[in-house]
């Protein structure tokens, strides 16, 4: 079932017409740049796109990129489904899978991934719960756990932890609080017992007395493919070349980013330049001196060559289905177009 929104259909039509016109035209300009809109959140985890743009990697691939910024991953996925945005990066959520099932979007590459040796997402407990004995995820039974929304990555993570610890999923009370800020507040005041979050936020809030770290996600979900690159189904099927070029440039940006801030193989000057580049997009409302540590702390590896851990994505899809959050009829092929990047 490949139903497309009117908008993306029109775009496809227009693109086809244009392509035909160009083919017929006697003189074809050598590098007529393709216009591409990239959806982004102002997070360090989206840095690969910013780097690729600032350093001209997109331009090298003949892409004229325009960013569209969002407050949350949710509306970004909708914008891609409606054809207003071409590419985006976000965690796999129930919403994303349902949009894929409706034939609107496809995952085409990997971005953030948990890996041994690099600081990953942490499991946190509130002070009260910690003092009452919640010192390891093994004692989560009967506790409450903060999530942003049903079917979010937080929801997936806590169930994977429960499964591994042999705790029935139903014995952990889920508290949907809509926003990351609300979860932090609830955890600090002890209104929820536990939560998991990316390292730069985790480290910042666990530094205070109200919150204690009690475990690492990497121990429960090895090789967890946290975020993926996705595009509209129309792009994936009709313009594979465009997708390929986007991913190539994106991967180049990722490589620079990893070298400067994750592996730290580049010079100190280059790391500094990288932080300055990212600061144009992230924490731009704060002075550079304040923003820099947050940017450095938030650096997690972006997959080399945008490779995608299909095993992890399959596991996530199966979990969503086990919770009846997405229809059982969704297959991995509906969700992923694995023809663009290496997978494992």
């Amino acid at each position: 079932m490949t139903k497309l929104s009117k908008r993306s259909m029109l775009k496809t039509l227009a693109a086809t017409a244009l392509a035909t016109a160009c083919a017929l035209a006697p003189v074809v300009p050598a590098a007529a740049a393709d216009k591409v809109t990239v959806g982004a959140l102002r997070f360090t985890s989206h840095a690969a796109s910013f780097v690729a743009f600032e350093r001209g990697y997109f331009a090298d691939e003949g892409l004229e990129v325009e960013f569209k910024f969002f407050q949350a991953a949710q509306p970004m996925a909708v914008a891609i489904a409606s054809g207003d945005v071409d590419f985006g990066v976000t965690a796999i959520s129930g919403g994303l899978i349902n949009l894929a099932q409706k034939g609107a979007i496809k995952v085409v590459g990997g971005a953030l991934q948990e890996e041994p040796g690099v600081d990953g997402q942490m499991i946190l407990a509130s002070r009260a719960a910690f003092d009452a004995g919640l010192t390891s995820p093994a004692t989560l039974a009967g506790k409450s756990f903060g999530i942003t929304q049903t079917g979010s990555s937080f929801h997936y993570m806590i169930h994977k932890i429960a499964d591994k610890e042999g705790i029935p999923r139903s014995e952990i009370t889920l508290r949907p609080l809509q926003k990351v800020g609300a979860v932090i507040g609830a955890l600090k005041t002890g209104q929820i017992d536990a939560w998991t979050i990316v390292p730069h936020i985790a480290k910042a809030i666990a530094a205070g007395p109200e919150i204690e770290p009690i475990g690492m996600i990497a121990d429960y979900i090895p090789d967890y493919q946290v975020t993926t690159v996705f595009t509209s189904t129309a792009n994936a099927s009709d313009k594979p070349d465009l997708v390929k070029r986007f991913l190539t440039a994106f991967a180049k940006g990722a490589a620079d980013f990893n070298a400067a801030l994750v592996d730290k193989t580049a010079s100190a000057q280059e790391a500094e330049d990288m932080v300055r580049l990212i600061h144009k997009y992230v924490y731009a409302d704060r002075p550079f001196e304040k923003a820099a540590p947050s940017i450095r702390n938030g650096a997690m590896r972006i997959n080399e060559g945008a490779r995608l851990n299909l095993t992890s994505v399959t596991d996530q899809l199966e979990w969503f289905q086990s919770e009846n959050l997405v229809p059982a009829s969704v297959t991995i092929d509906m969700l992923v177009d694995a023809s663009f990047v290496e997978t494992d």
């Binding site: 079932m1 139903k3 497309l4 929104s5 009117k6 949710q74 996925a77 909708v78 489904a81 959520s93 129930g94 919403g95 349902n98 949009l99 409706k102 034939g103 609107a104 929304q149 049903t150 079917g151 979010s152 009370t173 889920l174 508290r175 949907p176 609080l177 809509q178 609300a182 507040g185 609830a186 005041t189 209104q191 929820i192 959050l325 997405v326």
Partner: protein, 283 residues
């Protein structure tokens, strides 16, 4: 009457026209209209027609599934809710919040409205406060409620309570103002106690206004349900709708919205019954 039978008078009495027969015209009718006529079947018919068109549009592909799911899909989502027994969990959680929050909001609102209506000091002190707080969208206060009342039932009940409190205060105090003062003077002239006058004259006299306030506050309570269940609710119709939204399960979303709408209709009907019973003294 005795009239002399002169010819012209006789003809005038018989009502014969003074002009020729051909000039006769009926008086142009200028009345009618401006009076709603009860038409029972039109509403359901329009409703059914829209559903049918919508379903046909979805089946034929004119309406993309991404844009809007078919009514049958929404119904299917509803059927699943019933079959899995989740419907009762969601409904139970929401109804409990609604009933507690709305009852408390109504009771406190009627009490405050009576105070404002009866005591000048309360009116001077509270009315500006009520006018200032009434238009604030309670959703905006949600973070505060979470700090004050926690993420448990407290903040949810409080949201609904606040939402239904203010319209009730305004309706009740206006109702008290509108109670016929001559009835109050009558009560005083017969030596009724203050409390008797409030209970037997003011309260029943303000009842029509209180009930129409109840209608508004009940709708507001249902509107606020989704907001109330944004924070920390595992079950509830509002939580279900939010979940459906975040999952892009538009069929479930529509099923949830339909449940809210039916709840609204039901509450409206119940209040209508209550009105008919409590105000049966009106024509």
């Amino acid at each position: 009457m005795t009239l002399s039978d002169t010819p012209d008078r006789a003809s005038a009495r018989a009502g014969a026209p003074p002009q020729a027969e051909s000039r006769l015209q009926p008086v142009p009718f200028r009345g009618g209209g401006f009076r709603p006529v009860r038409m029972r079947f039109v509403g359901p018919l329009v409703f059914a027609a829209i559903l049918l068109l919508w379903e046909a549009g979805s089946r034929s592909g004119v309406i993309s599934n991404l844009v809007l799911p078919a009514p049958s899909e929404a119904f299917e989502a509803f059927r699943q809710l019933v079959e899995t027994g989740q419907l009762w969990r969601h409904l139970g959680a929401s109804l409990q919040r609604l009933v507690i929050g709305w009852t408390l909001g109504m009771s406190l609102g009627v009490a405050a409205g009576l105070m404002i209506g009866l005591f000048s000091l309360a009116r001077a002190g509270l009315m500006p406060l009520v006018s200032a707080l009434f238009p604030i969208p309670k959703i905006a206060l949600l973070p505060l409620f979470v700090i004050w009342f926690g993420i448990g039932e407290g903040s949810k009940v409080a949201t609904i309570l606040f939402g239904s409190f203010f319209p009730t205060v305004i309706a009740t105090s206006a109702g008290v103002d509108n109670v016929d003062r001559s009835l109050v003077r009558m009560g005083q002239s017969f030596g009724l106690s203050w409390w008797s006058i409030v209970r037997k004259i003011i309260l029943p006299g303000a009842m029509p206004a209180i009930l129409s306030g109840a209608r508004i506050s009940a709708s507001i309570a249902i509107i606020l349900l989704v907001a109330a269940e944004m924070i920390g609710a595992e079950y509830g119709v509002g939580a279900y709708i939010l979940m459906a939204g975040s999952l892009f399960a538009t069929d479930q979303l529509l099923a949830g919205v339909a449940i809210l709408s039916v709840m609204g209709l039901l509450v409206g009907w119940l209040i209508g019954r209550a009105e008919r019973w409590l105000l049966r003294w009106r024509s």
